[in-house]
Amino acid sequence: MPDSTPPFDHEAALQACARGERYALHALYERESRWLCGVAQRILGSRASAEDVLHDAFVQVWRSAPTYQPALGSARGWIYTVVRHTALRAARRAGRVEATDPEELARLADDAQAAGAFVDRGFDVESLDRCLERLEPERRTCVTLAFVDGCTHDEIAGRVGAPLGTVKSWIRRSLAALKECLS
């Protein structure tokens, strides 16, 4: 159900974490944990692993907060990268269980439509979707499999049935095209 949440200053909260103010980390957690838990669970497939990753990632956010550079980009982009990279590391270390849930796989196809159905959190979903729409469908799938599902090149090649080298080149060209389109 479309809904919007009040604005939240992620930059100020992350900078407060850098000063050692723990309430700010709690405020970030209150604000983002269920979304980040969704992101981690999608990559890891299991709720328990997602929570372990969220634990490690929030400790990492706290420790690395002093390195965040507000002049270069958003705090939310920074935090999502910490969580996604922690989840990817865990998934690859554990020899991830392939997403076996057929419903989850089917959901992938509906993602583009579903994007608008979630709460508006101030992400510029429209611009990115518009640019993704311009990509060839199989290339678009490669990018979302990598970002959303956390797939490796090999896993993507297996899923889309294309050679590894082709997948690598599709992804690089798609990134270049997205950058161009978003600029």
Binding site: D9, A12, A13, A16, A18, R19, G20, E21, R22, Y23, A24, L25, H26, A27, E30, S33, R34, W35, C37, G38, V39, Q41, A50, L54, H55, F58, V59, W62, R63, S64, A65, Q69, L72, G73, S74, R76, G77, Y80, T81, R84, H85, A112, A114, F118, V119, R121, F123, S127, L128, V143, F147, V148, T152, H153, I171, R172, L175, A176, L178, K179
Partner: protein, 253 residues
């Protein structure tokens, strides 16, 4: 390096954020990233380009116990090291790792450790010497009575011993008044002439709070202390966002 990253490096930054680098490539990239400002700028830009893809994933509410785990780990991390000095902690740990088969006096790590320890001790001593207050102000004590801005009812008392701990004590019925659901009491201080207030953390209604000197900015005469009503978890900003419930300034005893 100056100027923007080359198109090749910029795409590598995109793949780094996307997560398609192998673990070895990922680690190599992170090492370069620490030294390369242009690459850092490229990574931040890719983070912001791609993060809207996260909106495709439905939320999952984590267990209510998860925050407690995180908070405990963060408290432990804060006790063991200042977050800024963390990389050094890793290096110190590496220095201590023994090399099997080498006598201790030939281990570089031992001497490096000793040298680091000596340097650290020198630093601690110089900081202590610099920070030692002049004799006349040693042990200066300050008191602030925090009152409601309207009506002036006393709610809390702040007691500070220079160089020692600070205590916030409930001193009136108002201090124990229940906090509305979804709200929290947050404690702030601001030195006279300071640009803005500093958060001293959240306060439980009617409960005393003791803060060690290490958590406090320098305390002086006429320093402002206040308690504001904030969203649960505290103000999202680095300043109060809600109404002032109690406010007062220090007097020297």
């Amino acid at each position: 390096m100056t100027g923007p990253a080359t198109p090749e490096r910029d795409l590598a930054a995109g793949e780094y954020v996307l997560g398609t680098l192998t673990e070895a490539e990922h680690q190599a990239f992170e090492r370069e990233l620490q030294e390369d400002a242009a690459l850092q700028a490229a990574v931040y830009a890719w983070q912001d380009r791609l993060v809207p893809l996260s909106a495709r994933v439905p939320p999952r509410t984590p267990s209510p116990l998860l925050w407690g785990r995180i908070d405990a780990s963060v408290a432990a991390a804060s006790r063991s090291a200042n977050p800024l000095s963390d990389p050094l902690a890793d290096k110190r740990a590496a220095v201590r790792r023994p090399t099997p088969g080498t006598p201790w006096w030939q281990r570089l790590g031992w001497w490096q450790g000793l040298s680091a320890l000596a340097a650290f001790a020198t630093l601690v001593l110089s900081v202590l010497l610099l920070q030692r207050p002049p004799p006349e102000s040693a042990g200066a004590r300050y008191l602030a009575v925090l009152q409601a801005p309207q009506g002036g009812a006393t709610g809390w008392v702040v007691e500070v011993q220079a160089g020692g701990q600070m205590r916030l004590l409930p001193a009136g019925e108002g201090a124990a008044a229940p906090v509305p659901p979804g709200r929290a009491l947050q404690f702030w201080t601001k030195a006279e002439g300071a640009a803005g207030p500093t958060s001293l953390g959240l306060v439980q209604a009617g409960q005393p709070l003791v803060l060690p000197a290490s958590r406090l900015p320098a305390v002086e005469q006429r320093q402002l202390f206040e308690i504001t009503l904030e969203p649960e978890g505290g103000s999202p900003y680095d300043r109060p966002s809600g109404p002032i419930l109690y406010v007062g300034r220090t007097i020297r005893l």
